[in-house]
Amino acid sequence: MEFSLYGLSDIVLSLKVTALANFFALLIVLSTLTVLFIAPNYRLKRSFYLLFTLLVASLFLIVYAHDYLLFFIGWEVMSISTYFLLSFTLSKEALHKYILFAMASALSLFVAILLLYSTQHSFLYEDAKQSYLAMSDGVQQLFTLFMLIAIFIKLGTIGFHYWLVDAYEESHNLFTPFLSAMLSKMGLYALILFVANITQATYVLAVMGLLTTIIATFKAIEQESIKRLLAYSSIAQLGYIVTVLSVADGMGGALYHALIHTLVKLLLFINIAGVIYVTQKEKLSDLGGLIYKLPQSFVFLLIGIIVLAGMPPLGGFASKFMIYTALLDAKYLLLLAGVMFSSASAFIYVYKLIYGIYLGHPTHKNLEEVKEVPWTFLAPQYLLASLLVIIGTFPGLVIPYINRILGELNLTLLSFETIQTLITSYAQYNGFVVMGAFGGIFVLVLMMFMLLRSKAKKPKNRFDIAYCAEEPNEATHLHYGYSMGQELKRVGLIHLIAKNSSKYFYDFLAKQMQYFSEVVRKIYSGNLLLNFNIAVLFLIILLLWSLK
């Protein structure tokens, strides 16, 4: 569907239903539905829903737009409606941080699309490649720079993530799942369009993606706030996608991982929203020992972290596997090693998350009185968790859909035989067998184990632990696994990685800006004599310069 806007013949806008757009639209629908499920638990103003609707509408606009202008409009509306949605809970600083980065993203996207327009006078995706090729080298680099800045900010790639963590941490618990699952995906969508339509930008993406995964993983490890931890985990997960998009055949893995990440982040954030709802606590150090109070939530979080860590036999492994083999295919071996390294490091924060909330000992008296979260929290988790289990069992299930997208983008299709298997050029695996074998072995071992004569008895008191012959009591500090990973800072290399360098950088930038402003402001101090002098001098200089 094409139409023109502004009564100008040279701007053609277009909306188009493509398989890629449908894929992301599906994710939007899924996220919206699941998030709205938990909405009745919160008392929200009507304006929240109004803005939320606007946001969802803008997401659809982004997804179905087939030219960069509409895309940009959707992008900007998304940023602004998110701003107002965030304003319900965010502190002034965090909010300001968010919007500045969002504006920087939008404006650099703006510059980029205008540069794209300047050569072929078209915003359409189809013409993007030609427009790009028509640019001179310098402009091409400038264009790529601006485009990638815009995308990286939205993705929260490391260095551009300064806003993201605070925004995630302080946003409303209802909104965080959406923020993580959907809004960052829009950055991904932009990146996919960029990579598929314009240019691969191989090395930039590879380096940025790898740095993002590794640094964000180690940053996640040292967090104590649940939402901050998950925010960094989101960054890291998107880093995998950025990395894999740097290779020619990475699109399949990227889409697969996008799907999995959306599902799992919805699951995790809804889960912790439930925990926060019943406990009113947001820090790992304030929680603990909830496993027997919230058993269902525990299982869902467990499923979530298994997927997040990319463990077989659930869906997370399928997407990780796709990413690995794509990188292997492109012979990006060290990159692959780096990605796997960060994937292995992710086990720490994943364990820290589940330990801090559910395992160990309760850190407060009132934690021993909480009840299971309301069913409105559980219902979407049932849905998401079963989807993840199904994808884990039948990893080939989504391949035909991804192939449709790849076909549309003129990329190499993924091979597909049955829905149980996932096949790449290097290896294949059968999700059904893995799941079946694990389930079978587990059940068999469990049965044999239960039949043993040795009686399992359960202490009545949680303090009955082997504790060097001492007796712990309420006052004993037993729940300290939540600070796990702090000791890693003692390792020089990791300390280097996990430094708050982006904070220093942006603070420095802000400070310099303020000084500069302070100097410039002197012009407007109201001293007429000074001003006239400046004015005359400036004009003479300019004129002499311009008349040469």
Partner: protein
């Protein structure tokens, strides 16, 4: 037929694993100038624990932890073929690949970590923390070596990697092998990387709350798991195996090396071991990878 295969593999792993463990204790004792226990001592220990009258369980997650760990070990075993030639004793390896096995290697430990957390014993969690912190540093050189091997042999299938070696990978790519060996020593829980279960430091770490049959199950899985890891190394670096004798010889040789290594060194602190692993073996592995794939 496949069920018989699997059962047989399990049996072999169980027996060999315990045998190796007995030998391990015996040989370590000889290193320390003592007689050491009989070879079957580990087996006796495990049966003793199975026959305890009672075992303390801290809830269902605690109960399931060792079961998950055992399942993980058996899964690992099943997805690694015993022999790279012939038809039998391939297990489920045709349904999986090396990446899957790499993840299965940690699956059990993570499952058990949940149980440790559920037990509420801070020493257990301390051990888990050490283990997880060490894990990524341990895996990095191993991953690099494995990736290089996959890339060189053109497949992530273990059988293919084993079969594609004209000369042993250990000799063809010595740097990769050395780097992987460092990791392997750590994976086997040997000094100098044995920070996890350090008895006098963290009260035997993750195992501190396991008693009776739980401990017994952990011991059995350890035996099976050790064998599985040895077989994996044999296939990756030592040219695979086509018969029991070859398999036992190669794996025992490797095992001997590991325990000798372990008996000779003291223990690193956690940050030290991470630092060391991230520096020395990783650098070796990177150089090895570049040398191996340079064309």
């Amino acid at each position: 037929m496949i069920l018989f295969d699997l059962l047989f593999m399990l049996l072999v792993a169980y027996i060999t694993g315990f045998l190796y463990y007995g030998l391990y204790r015996n040989i370590t004792a000889r290193f320390q100038r003592r007689l050491g226990p009989p070879v079957w001592q580990s087996f006796l220990d495990s049966i003793k624990f199975f026959s305890k009258e009672e075992s303390i369980s801290h809830g269902w997650m605690f109960y399931l932890g060792p079961v998950i760990m055992m399942s993980g070990a058996i899964m690992t075993l099943f997805f690694i073929p015993l022999f790279h030639t012939g038809e039998s004793f391939k297990g489920l390896s045709s349904y999986g690949n090396l990446f899957l096995v790499l993840y299965l290697l940690v699956l059990g430990a993570l499952g058990n970590a949940l149980a440790v957390g559920a037990s509420g014993n801070p020493f257990g969690v301390m051990g888990v923390t050490r283990g997880l912190s060490r894990l990524f540093a341990l895996e990095l050189p191993f991953y690099i070596s494995v990736i290089a091997l996959i890339s060189v042999s053109g497949s992530a299938d273990i059988v293919c990697i084993a079969a594609s070696q004209t000369e042993w990978n250990a000799f063809a790519y010595p740097l990769l092998f050395i780097a992987a060996l460092f990791s392997f020593v750590g994976m086997m829980g040997q000094a100098p990387f044995d920070v996890v279960g350090a008895p006098v430091e963290v009260y035997s770490g993750p195992a501190s709350e396991f008693s009776g049959k739980f401990l017994a199950l952990l011991m059995s899985q350890s035996a099976i798991f050790t064998f599985a890891k040895l077989v994996l190394m044999v296939h990756l670096f030592l040219g695979g195996a086509s018969g029991f004798v070859e398999l036992l010889a190669k794996s025992f040789g490797l095992f001997l090396f590991v325990i000798a290594f372990g008996a000779m060194y003291g223990r690193f602190k956690t940050p030290q071991s991470i630092d060391f692993l991230l520096k020395v073996p990783t650098s070796i592995a990177i150089v090895g990878l570049i040398l191996a794939t340079w064309s």
